[in-house]
C-alpha cells in the first residue's frame, strides 16, 4: 500500500484562520498576565496545537504533542542549573572589579560569555530536536539521538571562523551549521539528509554586505558633483547645488533604513530557498517557494501589526498622562499611591496589545512557512514506522533562557 500524491497542487497546506487563532491568543494573554507570566508555557502549547492541527501534509494534519508542563519544567531547570550559577558568577566578577582584581574579573566574564555562546548553539540544536520529537503525522514522530553537545562547539568555531575575514564567510557558517543540524535529525525511520551549498548564497550576501557602502559611495559622488556644479563657496544653502547635496544626505539616511532591511530580506529569502532545497527525507525532497517580494510583504505586514499594537499599548498611558500633565507630575512627585497604582496598571494593560500582536506575528510566521513549503516524492506509509529516537522531557528550556526564539 502506498500513497503517491506528489503531484497534488501542494503537499503542505494551511487551513487556519486568524480569527480562530485570536480566540486562542486573547485568553492566553489574559491568563499569562494574571499568572505573572507563568501561563505562557501553556499558552505556547495551545498556539502550537492549533497551528499544527491546521497544517496538512499531503492528506493528514500535523499534530503537536508538546505540553505546557514540560516547557515549564525546562524553564525551571535552566533557571536553577544555569541562571543561579551565572548570577552568582556575575556578582563575584563585580566584586572583583570593585576590589581591583580586574584581570581575574575579565577572565571570569570571558569564560561566561563563551559558555553562553556554546549553550546558545546547543539550545538551537535541542529546540529543533524537541520540536521534531513533538510533531506527529499519522501517529509517527521525528527526533534525534544526538544531544547537540558537539554541535555547540561547531556553533562557536564556525561563527568565529566566519567572522575573521570581516564576516564574509557568514553564509558558509550558517549553511554548514544548518546541514550539520539537520543531518542529525530524523523522522520515523528516515534520517534527514541536508546538502545545501553555501556558495549559492554568496551573490545575495555580497549584495547585502555592500549595500551600506554603495549607498554611502553613491551619496558621496552625487553630493560632490552636485556641490561642484552649484559652484561658489560660502554658505552651501546659497546655491542650488548645495541644497541638492543636503537633500541627498537626507535621502541617503532614509535609504539606509529602507534598503538595508530589504537587502537583508533578499538574503533571507535566498537562504531559505537554498537551505530547504538541500533537504531530503527518504524519497521526499523539499522546496521553499517564498521569493523576495513575498518576504518583503510579510515583513511590512509584521511592522504594521506591531505599529498598531504600540498605538493601543500607549493609549492608556496617554490618557493618564496627557489629561493633565502638570497635575499628574505634581501628584507623582508627592508620592500619591493612587497615581502610582494607576501608572502601574496602565503599564500592565499596555502588555495586552503587545503580547497579542506577538501572537499574531507567530501565526503569520507559521502560515508563511506552511504556505511556501513544498515537498516532492513518495511516502511509503508501510515503511514509515515509528521513530526510535530518545525523547527528552524538558521542552525548550535552554532556548527559552537565551531568548533566541527563532522559528
Amino acid at each position: 500500500m502506498s500513497d503517491s500524491q506528489g503531484r497534488t497542487p501542494s503537499a503542505v497546506t494551511f487551513h487556519g484562520s486568524w480569527i480562530d487563532f485570536a480566540k486562542i491568543a486573547l485568553p492566553n494573554v489574559l491568563l499569562t498576565l494574571v499568572t505573572l507570566g507563568i501561563y505562557r508555557f501553556w499558552a505556547t502549547t495551545r498556539e502550537r496545537n492549533y497551528l499544527w492541527s491546521k497544517t496538512r501534509f499531503i492528506d493528514e494534519p500535523l499534530e503537536w504533542t508538546g505540553t505546557g508542563m514540560e516547557l515549564f519544567i525546562g524553564f525551571i531547570m535552566v533557571l536553577f542549573l544555569l541562571g543561579v550559577p551565572f548570577a552568582i558568577l556575575q556578582l563575584v566578577a563585580q566584586g572583583m572589579i570593585f576590589q581591583g582584581q580586574v584581570a581575574i574579573a575579565a577572565i571570569l566574564v570571558i569564560t561566561m560569555v563563551l559558555a553562553i555562546y556554546y549553550l546558545t548553539g546547543v539550545a538551537y540544536f535541542r529546540t529543533l530536536r524537541y520540536r521534531l520529537s513533538r510533531t506527529y503525522w499519522r501517529g509517527i514522530r521525528g527526533g534525534s539521538d544526538d544531544q547537540g553537545l558537539t554541535y555547540g562547539f561547531s556553533y562557536i568555531w564556525k561563527n568565529f571562523a566566519a567572522a575573521i575575514p570581516l564576516f564574509l564567510l557568514y553564509p558558509w557558517a550558517s549553511i554548514s551549521l544548518w546541514n550539520e543540524r539537520w543531518n542529525l535529525m530524523s523522522f520515523g525511520p528516515y534520517r534527514f539528509e541536508s546538502n545545501a551549498r553555501w556558495t549559492d548564497l554568496m551573490k545575495r550576501y555580497l549584495l547585502f554586505y555592500l549595500v551600506p557602502f554603495l549607498i554611502f559611495a553613491g551619496i558621496f559622488i552625487a553630493g560632490v558633483s552636485a556641490g561642484m556644479s552649484g559652484g561658489g563657496g560660502g554658505n552651501p544653502f546659497d546655491s542650488a547645488g548645495g541644497i541638492a547635496a543636503f537633500t541627498l544626505i537626507i535621502v541617503g539616511v532614509l535609504a539606509m533604513y529602507i534598503l538595508v532591511p530589504i537587502a537583508a530580506l533578499m538574503y533571507y529569502s535566498k537562504f531559505f530557498r537554498v537551505a530547504v532545497g538541500g533537504l531530503r527525507l527518504g524519497d521526499l525532497e523539499f522546496e521553499f517557494k517564498a521569493r523576495s517580494p513575498d518576504w518583503i510583504l510579510y515583513w511590512l505586514g509584521n511592522i504594521a501589526i506591531m505599529g498598531l499594537a504600540y498605538g493601543f499599548a500607549f493609549a492608556p498611558f496617554s490618557a493618564f498622562v496627557f489629561a493633565s500633565p502638570e497635575q499628574f507630575a505634581q501628584k507623582i512627585e508627592a508620592g500619591e499611591t493612587f497615581m502610582t497604582a494607576g501608572f502601574i496598571i496602565s503599564a500592565l494593560i499596555a502588555i495586552i496589545p503587545l503580547a497579542f500582536a506577538a501572537s499574531i506575528i507567530r501565526y503569520r510566521a507559521w502560515k508563511f512557512f506552511a504556505v511556501h513549503m513544498e515537498a516532492y516524492g513518495e511516502v511509503n506509509l508501510d515503511h514509515l514506522t515509528q521513530s526510535e529516537t530518545e525523547v527528552s522531557s524538558h521542552g525548550e528550556g535552554l532556548l527559552d533562557a537565551f531568548d533566541v526564539g527563532a522559528m
Partner: protein, 363 residues
C-alpha cells in the same frame, strides 16, 4: 454488550490509517478492521488529544503515536468511558476561565505585595554580622581606592560624628574616583566619590549628601532594596525578556524614590540637629538640576515621564525641599573649619599610595 462506532485509528507503529469500529467490552474495547482486531485496550488508559476536523482524538498512555479519532457525535453509551476534554489545562478547565483568572489575579497580587512589603520587616532580621560580611565580600578595600591622610580622615570623622548620634558602626570613606556621586552599601558602608568632595563649594554641602547616605543606612534601605530586587526578579521571572524587567524597573523605582525621600528627610533632621544650614545642599541640587535638565522641565509631559522613570526624586524638587527647610534667624554654623575642609578636599590628592579611577583606562 459491544457497541459499534465509526472511527479511525493509527497504531503508532506505522503511518497507515485504519478505518475501525469500536467494540466495547466492559471497561475495555477492541478496534476492529475488516480482517483484523486490535486490542483489548483499557478505557482508563485513554487521554484526550484534541480535535481534528470533526473528530475528537484520543491517545493512549505508553503507546507512542497511538491515536483514535471518533468522528461526529459520540454515542451516549461511550461518553462515560472517555476522558474529559481539555481546553486551557487542568485547573483552569475545572474552575472555568473567569473564576480561574480571578483566583490567579488575586494570588499574583498577593505575591507581588509580599515581595514589595516584606523587605521592610525582613531586612532588620538579617544580623549585622551577616550584612557586614556581604558588604566586605562586595567591596573589600575598593581595590585600594580609599583615600587616607590623618588630617583628612579626622575631618571626615568630625563630619560623621556631627551628623549621626552613634556613628561607631558606620564606615565612611572617600573613594578616589572622579564621579559626582555617593553610595550607601551593605554593611553600613557609605562611600563618597572624590568628584563630589573636590567640586563641592562648602563642607555643608558634603554634609547634606553624607547625611542623606547615612539616612539610607539608618532606615535599612540598602538590604531592603537588595531583598526587594531579588524578590521581584524571581516573581516576575515568568515573563519573558523585556516585559518582566520593565515591570520590575517600574515597581522598584517607585520604592527607591520613596527611600530617597526618606533619606532626604533624615538628612534634613541631621543637618538641623548639627546646626548646619541646608542651603548649601540646596545649592548642590541646583547645580545638579542644571546638569540633568530637570530645572528646565518646568511642567508638562516631559517632567511627568521623568519623575516616573528616574530612581531619585528630580534634583529640582529636592533643591526646593532643602531650600524651604532653611529656618530664618537660626544660628547656623559651618560644620568644618576652613583648614579641616581643605584637608578633606585634598585628601585624595595628598594620599600618594591610593589607586585611582576604576583600574582600567576608560576615562
Amino acid at each position: 454488550m459491544p457497541t459499534f462506532f465509526d472511527a479511525w485509528h493509527f497504531d503508532g507503529k506505522s503511518a497507515v490509517r485504519r478505518k475501525v469500529e469500536v467494540q466495547t467490552v466492559g471497561n475495555q474495547f477492541y478496534l476492529a478492521e475488516l480482517e483484523r482486531r486490535h486490542g483489548p485496550f483499557a478505557f482508563a488508559d485513554l487521554e484526550y488529544a484534541g480535535e481534528q476536523g470533526d473528530a475528537s482524538v484520543y491517545k493512549m498512555g505508553g503507546n507512542d503515536g497511538w491515536r483514535l479519532g471518533l468522528v461526529g457525535n459520540v454515542p451516549t453509551e461511550l461518553v462515560p468511558h472517555l476522558p474529559a476534554k481539555k481546553t486551557y489545562g487542568g485547573w483552569i478547565d475545572r474552575l472555568g476561565i473567569g473564576p480561574a483568572s480571578a483566583v490567579f489575579a488575586i494570588v499574583s497580587a498577593a505575591v507581588v505585595a509580599v515581595v514589595l512589603f516584606s523587605p521592610q520587616w525582613l531586612a532588620p532580621l538579617i544580623p549585622a554580622s551577616v550584612e557586614t560580611k556581604i558588604g566586605d565580600a562586595l567591596i573589600g578595600d575598593f581595590g585600594g581606592r580609599f583615600c587616607s591622610t590623618p588630617k583628612g580622615k579626622a575631618a571626615l570623622a568630625k563630619l560623621t560624628n556631627a551628623l549621626d548620634a552613634d556613628p561607631r558602626d558606620l564606615q565612611v570613606e572617600v573613594a578616589n574616583i572622579d564621579m559626582i556621586n555617593a553610595v550607601a552599601l551593605p554593611g553600613r558602608k557609605v562611600i563618597l566619590f572624590n568628584g563630589l568632595v573636590s567640586q563641592a563649594k562648602s563642607p555643608d554641602e558634603v554634609a547634606g549628601v553624607l547625611a542623606h547616605e547615612i539616612g539610607h543606612v539608618r532606615e535599612k534601605h540598602v538590604m531592603q532594596g537588595m531583598l526587594r530586587q531579588m524578590g521581584l526578579a524571581v516573581v516576575l521571572g515568568g515573563f519573558d525578556g523585556n516585559g518582566g524587567s520593565t515591570l520590575n524597573g517600574l515597581l522598584s523605582t517607585t520604592y527607591t524614590r520613596e527611600s530617597e525621600r526618606e533619606a532626604d528627610d533624615h538628612s534634613l533632621k541631621a543637618l538641623k540637629s548639627a546646626s548646619v544650614s541646608p542651603i548649601a545642599t540646596a545649592d548642590f541640587f541646583r547645580r545638579l538640576s542644571a546638569m540633568d535638565g530637570s530645572a528646565q522641565m518646568r511642567e508638562g509631559k516631559e517632567r511627568a515621564m521623568a519623575s516616573y522613570t528616574s530612581s531619585h526624586p528630580l534634583s529640582d524638587e529636592r533643591r526646593k525641599l532643602f531650600e524651604n527647610s532653611v529656618i530664618k534667624g537660626k544660628a547656623y554654623r559651618p560644620i568644618l573649619s576652613s583648614d579641616e575642609w581643605t584637608e578633606l578636599k585634598t585628601m585624595c590628592a595628598q594620599d600618594r599610595k591610593v589607586k585611582s579611577g576604576w583600574g582600567f583606562d576608560f576615562e
